[in-house]
Amino acid sequence: MSKRTLDGNAIGGLLLELFGADLTAAPCACDGCGAREEVARLDVYADCPGVVVRCRHCGDVLITIVRGRTRTYVDLRGTRGLEL
């Protein structure tokens, strides 16, 4: 595991830019283990190409965000849902 693990607080600005809302306090459910945590409490790896958000309990990937030249690709397959 990378030593540069951050948490979901660190991507608050990015999520605000993409979704127009502050998602750090939004509960997010892991599709792998079902654990439900606020986005701020998820593990974030930001020193890879793009951003990878993992469940702090089972380590499954919940969200990936990759910025392309003209658009941004957000993969939410690992989440069962976000509550806003």
């Binding site: 030593k3 540069r4 693990t5 951050l6 948490d7 979901g8 607080n9 660190a10 608050g12 600005g13 605000l16 830019e17 502050d22 750090t24 306090a25 606020e38 986005v39 701020a40 409490r41 930001a46």
Partner: protein, 218 residues
């Protein structure tokens, strides 16, 4: 280490504990972006305290070069999780390591400015006495009980804590888990995990321990 007070057009009032993103753009279009916790209380202009990191891309500019009147891009305020509002009456425990003090300082200042009666205690881990950020202000802060621990070097005659935060130290300093305190822990990943896990072992509900991990990305 330098504190910068920002004049941000269109800034909406921040909450204590929030951060902002600073984006610098070079002449060739290269961009570098970093997050900084807001140190000032809500209602005051946003201020950030920046630690200069060798080899950093953004912090050397903010610490050494930026002058009054210079402009750069700021996004924020950001964050709805690691925040404390003065109308919450229960006790508050702040646990900070190194520059993790910054958002906690905003909470302490918020408590003073808003005239809150919430009991507030700060446990602050620094390497040496000289590394203590906001030292003079913390010394004069009557509204907040401040407990220091110095992990690397202690001044002569030091009678405070002199070790990294461990379960015994937390047991001595923290409110009893039954007091219903809200807890805010900020620092490096290792610091945050040690403090938060220790508090949960003491009996704190994990959901009452709010955490923010700092990455040293300069």
């Amino acid at each position: 280490m330098r504190t910068l007070e920002l004049e941000a057009a269109g800034w909406s009032e921040h909450r204590a504990g929030q951060h902002l993103d600073v984006r610098l753009t070079a002449e060739d279009g290269y961009q570098a972006q970093r997050s900084y916790s807001i140190a000032s209380a809500p209602g005051e202009p946003p201020a950030i305290t920046v630690e200069r990191l060798e080899d950093g891309e953004v912090s050397p500019y903010l610490v050494d070069e930026v002058r009054d009147g210079d402009a750069f891009e700021v996004r924020g305020p950001i964050g709805g999780y690691f925040v404390w509002d003065a109308d919450e009456a229960g006790p508050v425990l702040l646990v900070g390591g190194g520059s993790g003090i910054v958002p906690l300082m905003a909470m302490a200042r918020h408590r003073v400015r808003a005239g809150s009666e919430a009991p507030m205690r700060l446990l602050y881990s620094s390497r040496t006495w000289n590394d203590v950020i906001y030292r003079d202000e913390l010394e004069s802060l009557d509204a907040v009980e401040v407990v220091h621990t110095l992990t690397r070097e202690r001044p002569p005659g030091w009678n405070g804590y002199g070790r990294r935060i461990d379960d015994d130290l937390l047991r001595e300093v923290a409110f009893a888990p039954t007091d219903g305190a809200r807890v805010y822990v900020c620092g490096s990943t290792r610091f945050v995990d040690a403090a938060a896990d220790g508090l949960v072992r003491l009996g704190y509900d994990p959901s009452s321990v709010r955490t923010e991990r700092f990455g040293a990305t300069g």
